[in-house]
Amino acid sequence: MAEAVEAVDSVVDKQPVIEVQNAIKRYGVGDASIFALNGVSLSIEAGEYVAIMGPSGSGKSTLMNIIGALDIMTSGKYFLDGIEISSMDENHLAIVRGRKIGFIFQSFNLIPRTSALANVELPMAYQGVKPKERRERAMVALDVVGLGDRVNHEPTELSGGQQQRVAVARALATRPALLLADEPTGALDSKSTGDLLDLFDQINAAGRTVVVITHELDVAHRAKRIIRMRDGKIVGDEINKERVA
C-alpha cells in the first residue's frame, strides 16, 4: 500500500507549505464586530502531520477556510507552497485550490448521483489532465484507499467510511502539496475512523503534508504536531511526543 501511495506522490520541497503571518478575520463592523481570527501566525513545513485543535468558536474552522483558500482574511499574509495567495482573486484561488490542496470535509462533499470514479476524476478534469491519464490516476488513488472494486458506485451506494475514502482518493489524485481535512471523522463510526486515520498515517509516511482540523482528542493524537486554538488565537503548539521519537 505504501508503494501505491508513492505512485501518486510527487516531489515534495522542503520549504514551508503553509506560512500564515498575523492573520485577522473579522466578522461585522464597529463595536459589534467579532474577531474569528485575532492575529494568528503559523508555519507548517512540507511533510508534517499537524492537528489543529480547539473547541467550537475557537476559530479553527475559520483558519481551515483561510488555509484552504476557501475564504479570504481581513488582514495578514498567507503563502501557500511559496505563493502569496492573500491578494489573489477568486478565480486564481480556484486554480490554487485545485492544484495545491486536497480537501477532506466532514460531510464528504461528493457530487451526488455521480460515480466514485467520476468524483475522483473531477478535480483533474478542471486542471485539464487528459482523460486517459486522469482515469489511471483516479483508479490508482481509489486502489490506495481500498475502493478499487467500487469505482462505479454512486455516493448513496457507499457507506460513510467508504464515501470519506472516495473523498481522500479525490484529494490524493491531484497530487496536492497539502492534504487538508476538516473534522474528517465527525460523521464516521469508530471502525471507519480508525481506518481513515491509518490511511492518513500512510499518506504522511509517503511524504505528504497533512493538516487535520478536529476537536476529538484521539484524532489529534495521531498527528505529529498539535496546535491548540482558543478565541481566535493559537494557545499551544507542541510536538506530539507519542508519535515523534
Binding site: N65, G68, L70, D71, I72, E90, N91, A94, I95, R97, G98, R99, F103, F105, N109, L110, I111, P112, R113, T114, L122, P123, A125, Y126, Q127, G128, R170, T174
Partner: protein, 406 residues
C-alpha cells in the same frame, strides 16, 4: 479544462436530472409549438377568407331586388317596387352611361331537384343566366364546353353542372353528353365546371347553370330576376361602377332618393375589406394568446433554472472547492440552459409543423415563417438569459458560502 469537457458535464448534469430536464423541455416545447400553431391557424383562416372572396371576384357587384337589404323595409314596400328585369340588365351594358362596367349577367334562380336514374341531387345553386356570367363570377370549365349566346337565344335545354352535382348524379363517369331531368325538364350536360370549393356555408360545386331563356320558358315562367351580376372593368373601378349602375337603375325605376330604392347593390370589394380586417383581428388575438403562452413558458424556464441553481448551490461549492474556476461553472450552467431551450425549441418547432398539418376547427393552418423564427429565437433567448443570470450569481459565490448552503 476544455469546452468539450464542460459540454460533457452539462449533458451529464441534464441526464442525471432526467425528469426535470424532460419537464422543462416540454414547457418550452408547448410554448413554441402553440405560437407556431395558433399563428398558423389565424393565418390559415384569413387565407381561406381571402381565397373564397377571390373566387367571387373583387371587381364584381351584385344588384338585388329590394331596398337596403333583404329585411323588413324591402317587403314593406313590395307593392310599389319594380322587379329587376332583363331590360334592366341590358340597360347596364350601355357603355356611355356606364363606362366602368365591363359586363353584366342576369341571374334567375330556382329550386329544383335533378334526377338521373335513381340518383338525385338538389343543387344549392340552380341559375338561369347567359354567357357573360362565367367571367363575372369566375366560373370556368374543367371539361366539356360552355353554353353560348346561341344556346340562350334558342333556349336550348343544355346545362353546366358543378363537381358535387356531377358526382351525385353520375358517380365517377363523365357527365358530358349525358342527360338529366331537373324540375321535370330534360337537359343535356355539356360542361363540368372547375372546382370552386365552399365559400362559407355554401358548397360552390353544388351547381347547375342553364340558359336563362330555357329556365323562363320551361321552369319558372316570366319571373323577375333574383340578381344582376355586374363586373367592373377593374377592382379599383368597382365603386365608380356602383355609382353608374345605381344612377341607371334609379332612372329606370323612378327612384328619387335612397330611402325609396327598390334594389340594393352589394360590393364585393367592401365585403373583402371587412372580412380581411376581421380576420386580421382574429390573427392578432391568436397571436396574443400565443405570445402569452410563450411568456408563461419563458417564466417556466426561468423558474426551473433558478431552482436548479439553488438546488445545486452546494454542488457548485464542491466544484469550486476542488478547483473549478468561475468560468467553468458558468459555462456548464449556460450550456445546460442552452441545450434545454434548444431541445425544447426544436421539439416545439417539430410539434408546430406536425400540428399545423391537421385541420383545426375547419381551418387549414398555414405556417407563418416568421413565427417559427420568432418562437424559436425567443425561447433560446429566454433560456440563455434566465438560465445565465442565476448561474452567474452562483458561480460568483465564495466556495465557503456555497458549501454552507443546505
Amino acid at each position: 479544462m476544455s469546452v468539450f469537457e464542460i459540454i460533457r458535464f452539462a449533458f451529464r448534469g441534464l441526464f442525471i436530472n432526467r425528469l426535470r430536464t424532460a419537464l422543462t423541455t416540454l414547457g418550452i416545447m408547448i410554448g413554441v409549438a402553440s405560437v407556431i400553431i395558433l399563428l398558423a391557424v389565424g393565418n390559415g383562416s384569413s387565407k381561406a377568407i381571402q381565397s373564397s372572396l377571390d373566387r367571387l371576384g373583387t371587381n364584381s357587384l351584385q344588384v338585388r331586388s329590394g331596398g337596403g337589404g333583404f329585411g323588413f323595409r324591402a317587403r314593406a314596400s313590395a307593392n310599389t317596387q319594380k322587379p329587376l328585369t332583363i331590360l334592366d340588365t341590358v340597360a347596364l351594358t350601355d357603355k356611355t352611361q356606364a363606362p366602368d362596367i365591363k359586363q353584366v349577367a342576369p341571374i334567375a334562380s330556382t329550386n329544383g331537384t335533378c334526377v338521373v336514374g335513381t340518383n338525385t341531387s338538389t343543387p344549392s345553386t340552380f341559375y338561369g343566366t347567359w354567357p357573360s356570367y362565367y367571367e363575372a363570377s369566375n366560373t370556368s370549365i374543367q371539361s366539356g364546353s360552355y353554353f353560348t349566346n346561341d344556346d340562350v337565344t334558342q333556349a336550348r335545354r343544355v346545362a353546366l353542372i358543378g363537381q358535387t352535382t356531377a358526382t351525385a348524379l353520375f358517380g365517377t363517369a363523365s357527365p358530358i353528353g349525358q342527360t338529366m331531368r331537373c324540375s321535370g325538364i330534360q337537359f343535356t350536360v355539356i360542361g363540368l365546371t372547375a372546382v370552386k370549393g365552399s365559400s362559407g356555408f355554401q358548397d360552390g360545386d353544388s351547381l347547375v347553370l342553364i340558359p336563362i331563356t330555357t329556365m323562363e320558358n320551361t321552369i319558372t315562367g316570366n319571373q323577375p330576376l333574383t340578381d344582376i351580376l355586374v363586373e367592373a372593368t377593374k377592382s379599383t373601378t368597382a365603386t365608380a361602377a356602383q355609382t353608374e349602375l345605381t344612377a341607371i337603375l334609379d332612372a329606370r325605376h323612378g327612384i328619387t332618393g335612397r330611402k325609396t330604392a327598390d334594389f340594393s347593390v352589394f360590393n364585393q370589394a367592401s365585403l373583402l375589406s371587412t372580412a380581411s380586417s376581421s380576420s386580421q383581428t382574429f390573427t392578432t388575438l391568436l397571436g396574443m394568446v400565443a405570445a402569452i403562452s410563450l411568456l408563461v413558458g419563458g417564466i417556466g424556464i426561468t423558474n426551473i433554472m433558478l431552482v436548479t441553481v439553488i438546488e445545486r448551490t452546494r454542488e457548485i461549492g464542491i466544484r469550486k472547492a476542488i478547483g473549478a474556476p468561475k468560468s467553468a461553472i458558468l459555462t456548464q450552467f449556460l450550456i445546460e440552459a442552452t441545450i434545454l431551450s434548444l431541445l425544447g425549441g426544436i421539439l416545439g418547432v417539430i410539434a408546430g409543423f406536425v400540428g399545423s398539418h391537421f385541420t383545426i376547427y375547419g381551418t387549414k393552418p398555414v405556417i407563418v415563417p416568421a413565427s417559427v423564427f420568432l418562437a424559436f429565437g425567443v425561447s433560446i433567448l429566454i433560456g440563455v438569459f434566465f438560465g445565465g443570470y442565476p448561474a452567474s450569481r452562483a458561480a460568483s459565490l465564495r466556495p465557503i458560502e456555497a458549501l454552507r448552503y443546505e
